[in-house]
Symmetry: C2
Subunit: 796 residues, 2 copies
Amino acid sequence: MKAWKVIYNDWIPEKQPTREALTTLGNGYFAARGAAEESDAGGPHYPGTYLACGYNRMTSKVSGREVENEDLVNWANWLSLKFRIEDGDWFDLEKVEIIKYRNELDLKSGILKRTVGFVDQEGRESLLISRRLVHMKFSHLAAIEWKITPQNWSGKIEVQSAIDGTVTNSGVDRYSDLRGDHLKPLFTKQVDDKCIMLVVKTKQSKIRMAQSARTTVFSDDEPISADSEITEKEGYIAQYLTFNAEQNKTVRVEKIVGLHTSRDNAISEPALEACNAVQRAGNFEDLLTSHTREWKQLWYRCDLELEEGEYTQMILRLHIFHILQTASANTIDLDVGIPARGWHGEAYRGHIFWDELFVFPFLNFQLPELARSLLMYRYRRLPEARRAARNAGFKGAMFPWQSGSNGREESQELHLNPKSGEWDRDDTYLQRHVGAAIAYNIHQYFEATRDLEFMSFYGAEMLLEIARFWSSIAEWNPDRERFEIRGVVGPDEFHTQYPDSDKPGLNNNAYTNVMAVWVLQKALNMVEQLSETRKVELFEELDIDESELERWEKITRKMYVPFIKKGIISQFERYDDLQEMDWDKYRKKYDDVQRMDRILKAEGDTPNRYKVGKQADVLMLFYLFSVEQLKEIFNRLGYEFEPSSIPENVDYYLKRSSHGSTLSRLVYSWVMSRSDRERSWKAFQKALLSDFEDVQGGTTSEGIHLGAMAGTVDIVQRCYTGLEIRDGVLWINPRLPRELQSLKMRIRYRGHWIHFLFNHKIVEVTFEAGWSPKVEIGFREKVYTFGEGDRKTFSL
Amino acid sequence: MKAWKVIYNDWIPEKQPTREALTTLGNGYFAARGAAEESDAGGPHYPGTYLACGYNRMTSKVSGREVENEDLVNWANWLSLKFRIEDGDWFDLEKVEIIKYRNELDLKSGILKRTVGFVDQEGRESLLISRRLVHMKFSHLAAIEWKITPQNWSGKIEVQSAIDGTVTNSGVDRYSDLRGDHLKPLFTKQVDDKCIMLVVKTKQSKIRMAQSARTTVFSDDEPISADSEITEKEGYIAQYLTFNAEQNKTVRVEKIVGLHTSRDNAISEPALEACNAVQRAGNFEDLLTSHTREWKQLWYRCDLELEEGEYTQMILRLHIFHILQTASANTIDLDVGIPARGWHGEAYRGHIFWDELFVFPFLNFQLPELARSLLMYRYRRLPEARRAARNAGFKGAMFPWQSGSNGREESQELHLNPKSGEWDRDDTYLQRHVGAAIAYNIHQYFEATRDLEFMSFYGAEMLLEIARFWSSIAEWNPDRERFEIRGVVGPDEFHTQYPDSDKPGLNNNAYTNVMAVWVLQKALNMVEQLSETRKVELFEELDIDESELERWEKITRKMYVPFIKKGIISQFERYDDLQEMDWDKYRKKYDDVQRMDRILKAEGDTPNRYKVGKQADVLMLFYLFSVEQLKEIFNRLGYEFEPSSIPENVDYYLKRSSHGSTLSRLVYSWVMSRSDRERSWKAFQKALLSDFEDVQGGTTSEGIHLGAMAGTVDIVQRCYTGLEIRDGVLWINPRLPRELQSLKMRIRYRGHWIHFLFNHKIVEVTFEAGWSPKVEIGFREKVYTFGEGDRKTFSL
């Protein structure tokens, strides 16, 4: 059971423990809609879960310039619950003597439990056990339960149960100059003797949000009468319940909370629905039962069961847990994407980046309906991406680097460097590669599901428009007789321009150019397969003709890819002209050189001058494509590509990376998994710790790094198993690390549930009964047909 | 081309022409979100398109009782456009001499064109040609164009272009006691010198809606300068444009309108988006081009091309046109269902009934993504249906007869009888059969698409819950040794209780009982095919066990079905005890006996005493099921069923029906299509005219009868072709009416586009290229496999 729980027993008031930051609860809906901030103990600031509600026209002045920020809302303290004994001080962890402290995140059931034994200044000893959940099935509900047991006293207890709409965003220090007040209070209301309600509206996006809370006190599972009093002020309502407690007799306080917004489907009006939700909900125990059942079912689908030291298993589950808190069945019907930091903290203000690239592989195989809905999030923003392309002088669709609520580019133009206190120019918006990631996700989703209706009606249109963008940004260089893509930035954000140039952007970023080729090729393949009806529709509507396709075809043969020397791909053109970093010098000077960009800029220098990477984007190619695929792409382009050059590239770039991105180690681990298993496992272990140990020193509490979390899950699910869909066949090619004895998992593939058992000797494949057509599974050059109920064991 | 246009040249001021009522434009989005009321000419009231926004807690007093009504909104007069010459009266069709009048609904392009030649009181002759569209691709846009040509004068023209948020609901006389003011004005704004804006909120549901309008005047396609003035009052903004016009020189006024609501996806804030929409839109001609292209593509998919007199073809296209105005690609992403009267009028206040049963067959085969989204509309309301079942003492899900915005029962409890002026008690809410219709739609959608993910994750859950409801409402009668369903109402709403009873509800309505059996059988089949993973999930969650399944199985063998005599199914138990109607007596006394219920009630009598049907619900069984299927159901139940009894049943009930429902003739036409082709064709022709000729005398202007419209389309698509999916095979069994020479159509079936040509000699089947797996087509006992590009001609 240990691998199902994240436990820590240490209470360190002066420090905000990182693992606390990981224990926020959401359920997708609640996460993307509301907040989960528990202020019961005046203790550490628990990062909330957030709601992105459109960019904020109410701009803030930053360093003399106007900066817009999203209506990202850390919603009301729904778990605001306080108590005091005999009119004393309100309970505060910092003002009592802690004699016992245990915090336990139960991943299996999605419950956070805290046990605090304490003695107050009057010498009264009490035991407080709190449990809370954000309901995984009934997505509009959350609940907290307190058990208070007086150990050496009897007397009056007063509980304050509030809904607080005056919360502001203050979770990220360097955003302190941005506006943090996103809520406009509308009204508060006492619904009945148990229920209170708060209704607010977001300031810019005008989303109406209603929250209702029902608080009840129990003794021996019977409700006990308590004196009730209500306090209301603007944007805040609290209910005070006073009752008597006896020594050694546990009283239980339950607070059930309902949340609805004006963006919910199937509602009449949010306030009415929030009230209904709470009044119709059962008590804490009922909710716990249904919540636990839902988690059990989710784990049955999504768990990766390892035979290994329990530490890896536990963190892996924590990562799966956080994926499911950000996106789940509860978000399928919401128009939300995958934010880089989950809905877990304020960093990046809820914007949607390319990070979903790392989350899709998991979702495609576990919750394909969810993956579909995330692609629809992009599809809905296709018109805005088209407009962005047109405005930048291109055709097709140019998806933004940081996507705001309506799909417009929301990348900051300035970035606060905490090292120097300066606001530096930020040209990372030139990362045009995000569209390629979306195309990749569409392709992968389709391969895993064969969802023809999706592909025909939405996927194809996106794919064509993204392909067109690449075709239009690629320019023919007659001297070189190659197409080029100039003036962009790759995933490695340390490099945004040439040191000898005053214009931002780099030329021929290898990752970008190869991805562009891949997208064009996939678009061409797709056109061949598309039905005539749909093809005619799309070609008419998008004004695509055969000459356009000919150009695509030509680009897939003639795109320029820079090389440093034979086999070593150049991150971008003229990368080799940059200076080598004197790593020793900086390692001596600074404890942590992960963010070399900030260090160099603070010294008046710039990473643009050096061969130093936040992450080595060349290696992303080895992460995304198998050797077979890369060979095909490069050969078609007329470049030599030998599988043996992969480790050379890895070595070259590993030396030159500061791992300033949490994604960096992940990619290393993946690409080395077969060539250098020891180093790969080490990198994997480090990647696992990104958030768990907060390796960046403080960024975890600003929000988890969901891409990195999902990436570790993906390494186990796809890299160690060699799971790959190629030419309509699901290939397996397992190579478990020595440290991993076995791996059990289930995947959903083209309408089948397939159970896998991998160990160092065999692979066992079992198909559940079901009504899907047979599919093919490939193992060591041979292809086998599987249908319902089939089982086969392959020897390694 | 004639069959593509609905044209009428007659201007009848004192009467509201029915065909005018058919010319409202929507596009799904605009329909379900906004309104399309043109008041340019002070002429006939054009029914608008509406928005259902939750039930209205602001109840109205009706006949001493409180009645709730939906926030159904006839939204702002977005096409409010007036003009006057030289400070004269504002143009009013009733105050000028009409010398030419032509109204033309171009079905092919979705454009309404009106030509009016007139002479005003000062003898000035002018020609006014207006065209309008609600954009089928850019769903947030609509546009109107006016061409004004002075024939014998030159002078000043003043145009008033307004957005009017003060509109109220007044389209249905008998609702006049209900509140009609659903909008609360928020603000008006002049955005720039061309754009004005109105923002309102619905009163109960608090939906924020923003509308922006850009009005420009052109001469020779060049914008001309006009003096502009703005008038604002609460909920209303108008722009006055004054310019000079010359004799014989046409001036053109364009008004482009954008509409967004707070329920839209991918937005920042509705007002901002509505502004953006209008400012980014091209001019009228641009919009016309993209709008026409979209319609062309839609028709390519959806048209049924007949070789026949053009009248049938034209009305059939009008019906397809109206289906697509109510639901289209633009509604897929909205949480909206299929309202009985489209979004076309105020009747039934936007509630969702079982009528979608008649619309699904068409959508399944033409726009399966849309069909899926309509099923999701029901899925989202499953929790409310569960609650309704529990509250009524049943298990599972009991979907409401009239479904309100959040899925709660919204059936009226009183119904105004226009014959008597009395508010009669209305027990039609006891129509529990709506859940069976939903199950039927799920099944049909799945058969047409094999959408496994939908079925597994949503469809199965609904199907199980609906099955459970039937199981729990069915009671074992030990005397009869049969299960019974007591206290319900069938689709024939004339009968709601026994004349000798004071309790509403009838026992053993044959349609309901057979449907219950069918649902239980389908649910049992589905359980067998469901993957183990999903089965365990659902059984745990819904608390279903094997004993429940055994009960279902038993009901499918032991349900009671009443018979009048051998072969003649009894509409409900003891139907035969009712009195025969003296039709002659009433036909002499009343012009129109379609609504015998109102006639009898006004006479102090009740249809409950007589063998008289609004529609013969027994015949619905022959409509929904093939002979083979019915045989199986009845044999399993231990009842004899001979195909030869079908015409006998038809005869029996045809004599006893007043066709008070527009669905009635439809069903007759279908069930007689093979046994009595002449009568079937006649009934079909009558069904075609339901709205076109407003056979109910005034109900068309309260909203089209979408179920009846779709049903006529379905008769052509499925009944004349014998298209039926049975055991995974798509069977065709064509029998065109003699009057129909040939029929061409395309369907989307399991990822394929299939082109059909039917005539009296052959059937030609052509598969488009595509990437879907092969499927089977059955013809005369033989099954053929078809894959991409295959073509085959069958001789008849």
